[in-house]
Structure formats: C-alpha cells, structure tokens
Symmetry: C2
Subunit: 230 residues, 2 copies
C-alpha cells in the first residue's frame, strides 16, 4: 500500500492521486494501487522555515509518517519538493522506503528524451536555497539554470501563492513567463520543481518546449514500485 504524505499543498496532493490513478494501467477498481493519503495542510510552511526562521515542519512531517505507518503503508511518496529538504531526517525516522522526488524528476526528463545538460529549474525559494536539485543532479551531468531573484519575486513566488489560493488560471501567465525566460537562457527543458507549478502551467496553452511535471514524475515512480497491487 502506497503512503502519500500530502497536503503541501492540498491541491497538489489531490492532483497526485488523480494522476496516480490515470497513469495506472487498469480495467477495473481492483487493478488500481491501494493508497493512503495523509493530507495535512497545517504543516508549517517549508520555505519560511528554511529561509526566514519560521517554525520547523519536521515534527508535523514525522506525525504524518507515523500515521502512514499505522495505516499499513509499505512505501512513501511526498508530492512536495520543498519538503524533500527534510528527506534525510524523514528517511532516518522510518523503515519504509521514501521515493525521492528529484530522482523521479530525473527519470521523467529521460522518459521525455531529455539527456543530461543545461535544464531550467523552477521551485520555491526554499527549494532553490537548499539546492535540492543541484545537490543531487550536478554529479550526474545536469546543470540547473534558475530564475533570478527578481524573477522569483515577480513571477515564480506569486504564481505558487496563487495556486495555493486555488487561482490556477491566474497562476499560468507568471509561471509560463518564468519558464520561457529559462529556455531563452539556454535550458533544454524546464523542471516544474514545486508541485503547485504544474497546476498553474496546465491552466493555459501548452508550452512549446519540454517541461518536467514533478507530480507526474512522482506518480510514475510510485506506479513502477507498487503496480500491480499485491
């Protein structure tokens, strides 16, 4: 049974459940993967914790992991990139394997035919400050181009905030512009490295370059591990 540590944000984890279902080869209910979603939107803001001295989210993350363990989960997926800043602490606290969203994103890039080289990386200010992607991908031949501080303040951070307030349509334009600027700077593809971003990007015209949806990437990684159900 797949355990999903969600609620960060709740729309992204609901979308993860939807994509997990739609990407699973199935003809009837019983072919689908049993899953428990722990959707606790009260987890303290991950970016504020990392860059502004906000409340530590780790105790709330561990409460969710305990809940998933009690429910009988055998593997854990976390559809929130920034929460992976606490990945090692979470993995040390549980015997269940936790899928890593950056590895899932890399697999999703390769699935789309994107090979190591310069890629654009959009994410929360916390994800970028922690170098979550660079720390894992630099040694594998990828180079991450990131938005400037001005682009983060004007485009990416406001776009993520709009999705968390349910305004996916309003989020499209700033998020799409930030992605375009990374391509103009030499990126071969853009990683939507915050699970709110694909929701905004899906709300408007398809972008004319490869984008890596980290919700879909994590869903595919979970299906590869858990399907077919026992």
């Amino acid at each position: 049974m797949l355990g999903v540590l969600g609620g960060m944000g709740p729309l992204a984890s609901a979308q993860f459940m939807l994509r997990l279902t739609l990407l699973t080869p199935a003809l009837r209910d019983q072919d689908h993967i049993p899953a428990v979603l722990w959707s606790d939107p009260r987890v303290p803001d991950r970016t504020a914790a990392r860059i502004a001295g906000g409340e530590d989210p780790l105790p709330a993350l561990l409460r969710g992991i305990r809940g998933l363990e009690a429910a009988g989960a055998t593997a854990i997926a976390i559809p929130c990139n920034t929460a992976h800043g606490w990945f090692e602490a979470m993995q040390a606290a549980t015997a269940l394997p936790i899928l890593h969203i950056v590895d899932a994103a890399e697999a999703e890039l390769r699935r789309q035919g994107v090979t190591p080289g310069p890629i654009g990386l959009m994410g929360t200010a916390g994800t970028l400050a922690m170098r979550l992607y660079q720390g894992r991908l630099d040694s594998r031949g990828w180079t991450c181009l990131t938005p400037t501080a001005e682009e983060m303040d004007r485009l990416v951070t406001p776009g993520i905030t709009l999705v968390k307030a349910n305004d996916v349509a309003g989020a499209y334009s700033p998020l799409a512009e930030a992605a375009r600027l990374l391509i103009a700077r030499g990126a071969r593809a853009v990683v939507l490295g915050c699970t709110e971003i694909p929701l905004g990007i899906a709300a408007g015209p398809v972008l004319p370059f490869p984008v890596c949806d980290t919700i879909d990437g994590l869903a595919r990684a979970a299906i590869a591990r858990c399907h077919p159900p026992a």
Copy 2:
C-alpha cells in the same frame, strides 16, 4: 480531520479530494481542511455483492473505517453512492459521524434551485436495486425517474465501467444520452448518483439542464462540517 473512505473507484475519490480543495475558501495551505483519504480499490464490487451474490464488501469497508479512526478522523465522507447500501452497518460500527451522500445530493439540488418534484436518477444497478435514493427522498416530495433496464445495459453500466478503466472521454456519450432520456421523460434535473458518472459527464459539452454532481455535493457537505479547520 475529515476521513475519506475512498477507492470506490479511485478516480472518483481523487476527484473528491480535488473538489474538496477547490471548493474550500482558502488563501494558503493552512486554510484547507486536514484530511486522510483511505483509497482501497480492492473493496469487493458493491453492485456485484448486492445483485449477483458477489463477495460482501462490508469487512473491507470496516477495515477502512478502522484505519480512518486510527488516523484521527473526526467525521467520515464516502465518495461512492453504492457503498451507502451498507451505511447503517458502517454507522453502527463507528462513533464517528458519517455524512450521507443522498442527503448531500438533495442539498446540492436545492443549492441549484431545484425544488422537490420529478428528478432523474442515474446510478449503478446496485444503487437502483437498493432504492438508496428513493428510500430517503420519496418521503421528502421527490420522485425518482430511473433508466430502463435496456438503458442501464446499453448506456449507464458501460459508461461507469469506462470511467473505472480511465476512459472518461469514451464514457461521455452513453452517460449524456441516458441523462437526456430522463429529462425527456419529465425529470427537472438529473442526479449523477454514482461518483464515476460526473467524471464522464465532465469530459464533453455541458448538458443543457441541471445535473447534480454527487462528488461536488459531498465535498460541499464536508466543507460545511469541517471548515474552517480547528
């Protein structure tokens, strides 16, 4: 914390989580309702159990309720109409209040301005055979018009099966035709009384008469009970 007994089917319960989130007034993660979704698609088929002597789903339903209790749920929503055939047995087995999807559907009809009178009712063969809606709504002034046996076999049951196999686009045409036939017979609105049906109906042109989406209705009932979060 809202407990969601889902997986019946998994796409419907993922959509329930999405609609629960989108219909909640929220400006940030922490304004959303904490929820645990128990999505176990292995629950034996409810319609087969009721009309064809299939395996009893009650033990699996009660396992889910125990899981939600253990996770700390304080109220339960079940985004599967047919499972409400076991409502009394489930409610007798837990101290947590279970929202009833038929009451939620009635509230959704009234919200849309539909007053008691003749309505169309689409659902699984199990839901219709158990008279889940009629048993609760007849005494309140509603009269349920249902598809003929031929329409069930040709349109409604195949449409539901297509959604469970992830083919929502293919499900639109048979489900929309069944709804139109109920309106032609005098229904003022059509209740989509199986949580797979709104997924198929949403995959094509909007129908030119009121439809009651039981996923949205149940989401609104859950929000009324659980928002704002404690």
